[in-house]
């Protein structure tokens, strides 16, 4: 039997009802998705069934996980944050500027850390051999960028608006347009891989991946804000997206950080 969107819609609704019930019974807000979110079928065999073993980072300042690998100017080239200038010609699509701050849970800027992004082209196609979507490749767009956050924790990318794309989990499954982000903090415990979405996408209710974040406010934090002050005259539309790294870090602050 073909899995349909209405099958998935029912499962998404059931997961939301279960979360609402947990909340009504006094359970804490869930800022993160659960790893066993069945409406996203790929999670079914790829999540642990045993609870994680908890490590209190306050007990040992020497934990390897309380430090993070270093990245520097050697690891990025000057045009790495401009995805429209990686080839000889101009990519097709609406140019956008995406910028925001990388913060820790105390609201402090996370400086000098690596931000990596990847995305589909404006037609919704990834430059990836396993991609089966029958939409045109753009010879002038690979959809990959990286940068280091500045002294105020800001990152900034120039790219093109990615298109939505079908992904075959169920009949008529479409991913809302998004940009994948990979982020490092000052501690390895703060590592984050996530996706940024665009305001008011009509596909949000149908997509089990964004809906895996069942808390409404938490899900909203994945959606960028249109920011006219970031729009570059005669060039690009601007989007602002701040990122807060979860996970504990060392309670002492290193010199110069």
């Amino acid at each position: 039997m073909t899995l349909t969107q209405s099958d998935i819609d029912r499962e998404i609704a059931a997961e939301r009802a279960a979360y609402d019930k947990r909340r009504a019974e006094g359970a804490p807000v869930e800022h993160q998705p659960r790893r066993d979110y069945a409406p996203y079928r790929s999670s079914v065999l790829r999540h642990p069934t045993r609870p994680p073993v908890t490590i209190d980072v306050g007990t040992d300042p020497e934990l390897v996980e309380l430090a993070s690998p270093a990245f520097g100017e050697r690891d990025v080239t000057e045009t790495d944050n401009d995805l429209t200038r990686r080839h000889d010609g101009e990519p097709i699509g609406e140019r956008i500027t995406v910028s925001g701050r990388l913060l820790d849970r105390d609201g402090r800027p996370v400086r000098g850390q690596l931000v990596e992004i990847w995305q589909a082209n404006s037609a919704g196609r990834y430059a990836h051999m396993r991609e089966q979507h029958d939409a045109p490749l753009d010879p002038n767009f690979t959809g990959v960028g990286r940068t280091l956050t500045d002294d105020s924790g800001f990152y900034r990318f120039t790219t093109v608006q990615p298109g939505p794309y079908p992904w075959r989990q169920h009949l008529n499954a479409w991913r809302p347009a998004h940009i994948h982000f990979s982020l490092f903090g000052t501690a390895f415990t703060q590592r984050l891989v996530t996706q940024m979405y665009f305001p008011s996408d009509p596909l949000f209710p149908y997509d089990p991946i964004i809906q895996s974040v069942t808390d409404d406010a938490a899900r909203q934090r994945l959606v960028a804000t249109y920011d006219h002050s970031l729009s570059v005259p005669e060039f690009s539309m601007g989007y602002h997206w701040d990122i807060v790294l979860d996970g504990p870090r060392a309670t002492w602050i290193e010199e110069g950080r």
Binding site: P48, D60, L103, D106, R221
Partner: protein
């Protein structure tokens, strides 16, 4: 919603995680990602293994990040893991001399990964280990675990984490010696022999 005002702590809430998906291949892997050990270093060790799902099928689309101390137990603070070439815009790779302590390796079509790094030294109360972060399509939040190396039974017995772990599952955190300087460490995401995963608070 996504402009955060740090002067209002109640708005500083975590950005949710999402799966890495299937299409990170042009973005995250880089040449020499698993060649963490400087060339010719006497303390180089080879780590390798498979990543399996709940039915025992190997994952062809997972990747691991490895992060560890140097043989003296010091944490590297040097960049240059993914040095770039300003002329071509491509990757130069590591310089083969400095130890950054960090690497990133993909599983291949058989679900197998391998890396060469330096045998880590002990830090604090812990036995020596390499920290591992697992990412995969289908995994909505990455998973942390640790690779402890066998050999020093006293250090392993005294390790604060290993002491707390269910004895029946403890071995999922300890690599198996295959030959001198070569170790096997499989990761089972679910089910029989499920790897112990960690949460930091």
């Amino acid at each position: 919603m996504t402009k955060i005002d740090p002067s209002r702590p109640e708005t500083v809430l975590p950005t949710p995680s999402h799966t890495v998906g299937p299409f990170y291949g042009h973005a995250l892997p880089f040449p020499g990602g698993g060649d963490i050990a400087p060339l010719g270093h006497p303390d180089a060790v080879t780590l390798r293994g498979y990543v399996y799902d709940g039915e025992g099928a190997p994952l062809p689309d997972a990747f691991l990040e490895l992060w560890g101390a140097d043989p003296d137990g010091e944490l590297p603070r040097v960049d240059g893991s993914m040095r770039r070439d300003p002329a071509s815009g491509g990757f130069l790779g590591r310089n083969g001399v400095e130890f950054t302590g960090w690497g990133r390796v993909q599983t291949d079509a058989d679900g197998h990964w391998s890396a060469r790094t330096l045998r880590p030294g002990a830090r604090g109360a812990s036995a020596p280990y390499v920290s591992v972060c697992v990412f995969a399509r289908g995994l909505l939040v990455h998973l942390f675990t640790r690779i402890y190396l066998p050999g020093d039974d006293a250090a392993l017995a005294a390790d604060p984490l290993l002491r707390r772990v269910d004895p029946a599952r403890r071995d999922t955190l300890i690599a198996t010696r295959e030959r001198s300087g070569a170790y096997r460490f499989d990761i089972r995401l679910q089910g029989e022999g499920e790897t112990v995963f960690l949460e930091f608070q």
